[in-house]
């Protein structure tokens, strides 16, 4: 299953610009389409759509959210085991390793580029020890 764009699409192209895997195609002012074979279901297209024209994989219409309201990962360093599963899962490369501490040489992941985060929650889903919450 993948995301879908319906007839309410106004062809503004916002979704094309934010899609991290270039799964969306369409002409300006015309209905866009999602390539189901490419879509990774990150949901960012739905969060930017001004026309409520995008449905997720279950068929529910996605709600538009202001960028400042997009959830972002918050790492609990007391639980984190530095396994980098979150960094690997991130489709936009906004996570990276912080600096190791003077008493702990195991660097922890941090949100290095918050402006780039699309709030997909892939890092949250990938963390084996539940050290990430989306806030």
């Amino acid at each position: 299953m993948a995301y879908n764009i319906d007839k309410k699409c106004i062809g503004c192209g916002l979704c094309v610009r934010v899609c991290p895997v270039t799964a969306i195609r369409g002409q300006l002012h015309a209905q866009h389409t999602v390539d189901a074979a490419v879509c990774i279901e990150c949901g960012v297209c739905g969060r930017v759509c001004p026309a409520s024209a995008i449905q997720d994989a279950t068929g529910s219409t996605c709600a538009r959210l202001k960028h400042e309201d997009w959830p972002q990962p918050d790492m609990d360093d007391t639980l984190c085991v530095s396994c980098i599963a979150c960094i690997q899962a991130c489709p936009v490369g906004c996570l990276g390793l912080g600096r190791p501490g003077p008493r702990d040489p195991h660097a922890r992941p941090i949100l290095k580029m918050p402006d780039r985060c699309i709030g997909c929650g892939f890092c949250y889903g990938a963390c084996p020890v539940g050290a990430i919450t989306m806030k």
Partner: protein, 672 residues
């Protein structure tokens, strides 16, 4: 969500085409993923008698079944093919980030066949696979290649790259495949296969999410497992490690080893923490397996005090999904390099009687950049030093270079010659057995290898399990496939009650007995090793013991299956048996894969930790073959075992979704 994709990618370099193949659910039940998936495919698809460096050989890059499932320690990827070094089934195993990226591209494995007529690299992202010209990359070392490709394909996220260096390009039979800045799938000479296929690199940039059937249970299991790894246990300074080794040497009895104790050492120092202790204990070979700690005494081994190595570490390196972080990134000549591992340090110090830590860092960096196996390179150079000492090699063969024990500069020069395939390096680049056959004069007797592959730096005279596994393993000469200490650590009896539980203390001489109990634990080691290679589990994680690392429980939670640990062990036995059948089909005399007698204590050492010890290798091999259900005299799997394991037919696959690869030429402004 299943933890596997149910799909593999075929890349035919001769025709430049890519094809998807759907894999039936039953294949995963029978073989898991990783090496199990690879052997289930390759046994059918590599024609008998295929030239390992020809178009018919198939090179697989596979991801473990548990990779990306929310489990820990499960970021291993494996390469597999017919080995050009041994002519047998070949595989190699590595960490880093490649394993999850294979799945993020939508596949459980990538299988490469054919031969390209010019250098290419394979690029895969969410849109699919593409073959691209790599002429400009040919000749670059592994680090340069990876850095160049990462700049070239820069997108939202950094890709994972597996590539070869000059060693693989020049078809060195001890070439490996590098990823993540010099992590190496080093063994079996698989880098030479990429070189023969003109495949410089595999570049993966997928972003698909991964998961499991029961994420809540995976989280619960992983949290418990993580606690066993991350607790900080105070350890003595590095200079105390040789004392620990000496203590173990002097004890009259042998203890059942608990991997929970070695994990803190790996966490603090990495594998190099064991180098000096292992010399004292008798685990590390000295002077091409003819010496002991009496020769490489503490004043010499102080060069490899683990604290001296740790002082150069800038930060810890974690592979994907690893809570341990045994790797390290060190500053080196204005750049960064991976911290040398136990094997590399042992191979270029005690084995050669050297004491120069700077030289080890230099050699490690050069071999990583060249994409050459440090174990085989060290073993081959040890053979060369002994050949020089015995007059088999003279200065006429070395263009005047003198080869003396303890001369790190000479070892470094030989490494450079091997990488460049110049002078005597042309011969040494294919390993010690090939060189010994060329020079003759009985020099095969001190080429310490099994089936043509140099054995790793763990002495079978201390743990006879190493001799047995290196000899009966379908990829001969390997140390990670089993030994008696591993069995202690894996603690399989806590989940498979039919397996024997070793005593807490036992007489040292009992280790050298060839009996049914030894056969039972060796077969259990093999089955478990293949099981965790199917799962993509790291051996160091497995050393925690299965009551602390819940691999059986993870497998069930991730897949939704309800298999028992004993049933999973049968999967491991099935994988091991098909690997052996591959060798049978190749017409290999399986008895000929036994390790060099010297390493098994024939003749025994006259002094040192292992003095007077000999391994009853023939009896151990016979017992192992019988216990696993193979012919005890020949090692050929019996028809009843093949039937019991349901091995034929091996795969139930259907090719679908043919996709033509588009080859694009790199733009010239990239300087390629």
């Amino acid at each position: 969500m299943k933890p596997y994709r149910g799909r593999i990618l075929w890349v035919d370099l001769t025709t430049g085409t890519c094809t998807n193949e759907e894999i039936a659910e039953s294949v995963y039940h029978a073989y898991l993923g990783g090496l199990g998936l690879a052997v289930s495919i390759l046994y059918n698809r590599i024609p008998a008698g295929a030239d390992p460096l020809g178009p018919d050989n198939v090179l697989a890059f596979v991801s473990g079944l548990l990779t990306g499932s929310g489990s820990l320690f499960t970021g291993r990827w494996m390469a597999a093919a017919k080995s050009p070094l041994t002519g047998t089934w070949g595989d190699a195993n590595c960490g880093g980030t490649l394993s999850p990226t294979i799945k993020q591209c939508g596949y459980d494995g990538i299988f490469v066949t054919g031969v390209s007529d010019h250098p290419v690299y394979l690029y895969v992202d969410s849109h699919g696979p593409e073959l691209r010209d790599a002429t400009g990359l040919w000749g670059m070392d592994t680090i340069e290649t990876e850095e160049t490709l990462k700049k070239l394909v820069a997108g939202n996220r950094e890709p994972s790259v597996a590539c070869i260096g000059p060693a693989g390009e020049r078809l060195s039979l001890i070439a490996g495949i590098s990823n993540d800045g010099g992590r190496m799938a080093a063994r079996s000479g698989l880098g030479a296969i990429m070189g023969s296929k003109m495949l410089k690199a595999v570049v993966l940039s997928g972003s698909r999410p991964m998961g499991s059937e029961n994420p809540e249970e995976m989280l619960r299991l992983s949290r418990v497992c993580a606690r066993h790894v991350t607790q900080d246990i105070p350890l003595p300074p590095g200079r105390a490690m040789p004392l620990l080794g000496a203590l173990l040497r002097h004890l009259p009895a042998t203890m059942r080893m608990d991997g929970g104790l070695s994990i803190p050492m790996f966490r603090k120092w990495g594998t190099c923490g064991m180098d000096q202790a292992s010399v004292e204990w008798g685990d590390t070979p000295v002077r091409n397996w003819s010496g002991s700690e009496k020769d490489y005494h503490r004043r010499l081994s102080n060069a490899i005090d683990p604290d001296r190595i740790l002082a150069r570490e800038q930060r810890k390196y974690h592979c994907y999904s690893c809570p341990l972080g045994c790797g390290g990134i060190c500053a080196w000549q204005g750049s960064e390099t991976h911290k040398p591992e136990y094997e590399t340090i042992a191979a270029f110090n005690a084995l050669l009687m050297c004491t120069d830590l700077d030289a080890v860092f230099a050699i490690n960096d050069r071999l990583n950049r060249a994409g050459m196996d440090t174990i085989s390179a060290g073993g081959t150079i040890a053979w060369a030093l002994e050949a020089w000492e015995k007059g088999v090699i003279t200065s006429a063969d070395t263009d005047g270079l003198e080869l003396h024990w303890g001369d790190s500069a000479a070892a470094l020069r030989l490494v450079d010659l091997m990488i460049a395939r110049e002078g005597i390096g042309e011969l040494l680049a294919d390993g010690s057995l090939q060189a010994a056959r060329h020079f003759g004069h009985g020099s095969e007797s001190f080429a310490i290898q099994a089936g043509g592959q140099e054995i790793a730096m763990h002495d079978p005279r201390l743990d006879p399990g190493y001799a047995l596994h290196a000899s009966v393993e379908p990829t001969p000469g390997r140390h990670t496939t089993g030994c008696q200490v591993y069995y202690d650590m894996y603690r399989l009896w806590t989940r498979v009650p039919s397996l024997p539980k070793p005593r807490l203390l036992s007489a040292k001489r009992s280790k050298y007995r060839a009996d049914a109990a030894q056969a039972a634990i060796a077969v259990a080691n093999s089955c478990f090793t293949q099981l965790y290679n199917g799962a993509g589990l790291c051996m160091f994680g497995a050393m925690l013991g299965v009551d602390r690392i819940p691999v059986f429980e993870w497998l069930n939670a991730a897949t939704g299956w309800h298999m028992t640990p004993a049933e999973y062990m049968t999967v491991g036995r099935r994988i091991q048996t098909v690997r052996q059948l591959f060798n049978v089909r190749e017409g290999i005399d399986l008895r000929s894969l036994a390790i060099n007698p010297r390493a098994a204590g024939h003749p025994p050492l006259l002094r040192g930790a292992n003095r007077g010890r000999s391994v009853q290798l023939t009896a151990l091999m016979r017992d192992y073959w019988e216990h696993i259900g193979w012919d005890p005299e020949t090692g050929v799997p019996s028809p009843s075992t093949i039937a019991e394991l349901g091995i034929a037919p091996l795969t139930d696959t259907t090719r679908t979704d043919d996709t033509v690869c588009v080859e694009a030429t790199l733009e010239t402004d990239h300087g390629l």
